[in-house]
């Protein structure tokens, strides 16, 4: 079943076409990769899917409903959560607060209930705390829960970003270069973790990545972007042997 479909999506910044005729579909439960050289428009594509930018043309449908015109927080509430290429944690807050904040859209108690500490407040807060700790355990961060986020090592900050995105209970998780800056061993662990959370949470995942071993290792299908357009799509095996992709990555002479 199709979860996300973007059709003919384009984004112009003045005269620059950052993304043009972007056509992508993702089925429920799939793990899809989006790769391409630097500046190909991968992050712009993510920003279009999450409402940070509005597409100049085209349509984006998620779970059968259009996402065009919605604000980023509304899109998150519909079930798309993301991480950022340049980490955007709530850096002055504790690790657990970072995760708790992302529960926000599932909280039912109102402002007055929290101020006067009535009704659902205590139960829901306890539940949020419990769920946050469970998530941190998965990412091996539970022993650092009271640490200030900016003091974590780089790899741990990346993991915390994923934990925080999961706390929003998404159907579709968008990961923007989750392995950036990680060493090969950390990347291996991350691969295992992404596979595992997909099974555990029944997630659909779309990830941008430069690390080819990671992309080829876990993605079921791959889209390749260059100059804002999709130049190839298919299984990792097909992508590896696609002349267009080889040209884009290694330069035109390589095949001529």
């Amino acid at each position: 079943m199709e979860l996300l479909r973007a059709q003919n999506v384009s984004k112009m910044f003045g005269g620059l076409k950052a993304v043009s005729d972007f056509d992508v579909y993702i089925n429920k439960g799939e793990l899809v990769g989006l790769i391409g050289p630097n500046g190909a428009g991968k992050t712009t594509a993510f920003n279009l899917l999450t409402g940070v930018y509005q597409p100049t043309t085209g349509s984006i449908d998620f779970d059968g409903k259009s996402l065009v015109g919605l604000k980023p927080y509304e899109i998150t509430q519909r079930g798309i959560a993301r991480t950022f290429q340049n980490i955007r944690l709530f850096s002055e807050l504790s690790v657990i607060d970072n995760v708790k904040i992302a529960h926000h859209s599932h909280v039912k108690y109102g402002v007055m209930e929290s101020v006067f500490r009535l009704g659902r407040y205590f139960n829901e807060e306890a539940e949020i705390e419990h769920e946050a700790i469970e998530l941190l355990k998965i990412f091996k961060l539970d022993d650092k829960k009271d640490e200030i986020a900016k003091n974590l090592p780089y790899g741990a900050q990346r993991r915390l970003e994923i934990a925080r995105a999961l706390a929003a209970k998404p159907k579709l998780l968008l990961l923007d270069e989750p392995a950036a800056g990680m060493n090969p061993q950390e990347t291996q662990e991350l691969m295992q973790m992404i596979r595992w959370i997909r099974e555990e949470f029944g997630l659909t995942v779309l990830l941008i990545e430069h690390d080819m071993s990671l992309v080829m290792g876990i993605c079921e299908r791959i889209y390749v972007l260059e100059y804002g357009s999709v130049i190839a799509r298919g299984t990792p095996q097909e992508i590896k042997n696609d002349p267009e992709v080889i040209r884009a990555y290694l330069g035109g002479e390589a095949i001529n």
């Binding site: 955007r88 402002v111 500490r117 205590f122 925080r164």
Partner: protein, 314 residues
């Protein structure tokens, strides 16, 4: 009883003990009228700085017009008690609601601005409110509004202050408060986590403005007259100093800031010309040695030396 409720009860009991001691001292004549007046002023300043901290410290929206909202509350409640014989509590609430409503109306357009631009817009807003009041003859214009009944007592100020402190503390420790803090920390990430950033900015602004209005009501009923010159930019600036001095994003910090500034003001009451010089020096030194404010983001109870005092739990 769970941990949070226990904690609340402890704070409440400690506050009541403090109130009892102060009342005994005031009643016994140990502390005279000068002290009583300054304690009332301190309570009002604490309400102002804590409510401003909700906007500036917790939500990270730099507002410079807080005295404007105080003026709205002061005039609204004074008119109600003086001309319409409304009970004091009702007038305070009405003053708070009026300021809150204005905060809501003004917050919606201005909170789209960021940083410096928001500061300038709110600064202008505070002045607009003051000058508008100055030109309304019904409330006495520039000469001030006279004949206000003297209703504000230390008891009133103390319990309103306690309510405000609990309100802000509990708000901050809920998902809604965390949403405000997330806006301060990183607006883009907050939005990506499903937080309606505009809603929470406006909410914090309106709540802060509402409490400033209540503080204004208390302020108006301490004297027999209120005057637009009490609510100038310098007054807003004073509250800002308290917040920055204590630490943006710390309730205990705001209380400390208000205590220090009110204390210094009272101590230098005889030398008004030196007061601003000393304030400025204090601020310069603070920015050099403790730019995050006395308490930073922390509450007193989270500080290491306090924890050690309590016997090193945790």
């Amino acid at each position: 009883m769970n941990r949070l409720r226990m904690q609340d009860m402890k704070i409440l009991v400690a506050s009541l003990v403090l109130f009892g001691i102060l009342m005994a001292l005031l009643g016994g004549g140990v502390l005279g009228a000068f002290w009583e007046f300054n304690l009332i002023l301190l309570g009002i300043n604490i309400i102002m700085s804590v409510s401003l901290n909700l906007i500036n410290g917790y939500t990270g929206q730099f507002s410079l017009g807080h005295a404007g909202f105080m003026a709205i509350g002061a005039y609204m409640s004074a008119v109600l008690t003086t001309n319409f014989q409304v009970p004091f509590l009702g007038a305070l609430i009405a003053g708070g609601l009026a300021a809150m409503l204005l905060g809501l109306l003004i917050g919606l357009p201005t909170l789209r601005l960021r940083g410096d631009y928001l500061a300038i817009a709110t600064l202008g807003l505070g002045e607009i409110i003051r000058i508008t009041i100055m030109n309304i003859q019904y409330v006495g214009g520039a000469a001030g509004f006279m004949g206000i009944p003297h209703k504000t007592t230390f008891t009133w100020v103390f319990f309103v202050m306690l309510f405000v402190l609990f309100f802000v503390k509990n708000f901050i420790n809920s998902s809604h408060g965390r949403a405000c803090i997330a806006v301060r920390e990183n607006e883009i990430a907050a939005e990506a986590m499903g937080i309606n950033t505009t809603k929470y900015k406006v909410m914090a602004f309106a709540i802060g403005a509402g409490f400033a209005g209540v503080a204004g009501g208390l302020f108006a009923h301490c004297f027999y007259i209120i005057n637009p010159t009490s609510f100038t930019f310098m007054a807003s600036f004073n509250y800002l100093i308290m917040v920055v001095l204590g630490g943006l994003g710390s309730i205990t910090g705001s209380i400390a800031g208000a205590v220090v500034l009110t204390g210094v003001s009272a101590a230098l009451a005889d030398l008004p010309e030196f007061r601003m010089i000393i304030f400025s020096l204090v601020l310069i030194l603070l920015m050099f040695y403790r730019p995050q404010g006395l308490f930073g983001y922390m509450e007193a109870a989270d500080m290491k030396w306090i924890k050690r005092l309590k016997g090193g739990r945790k």
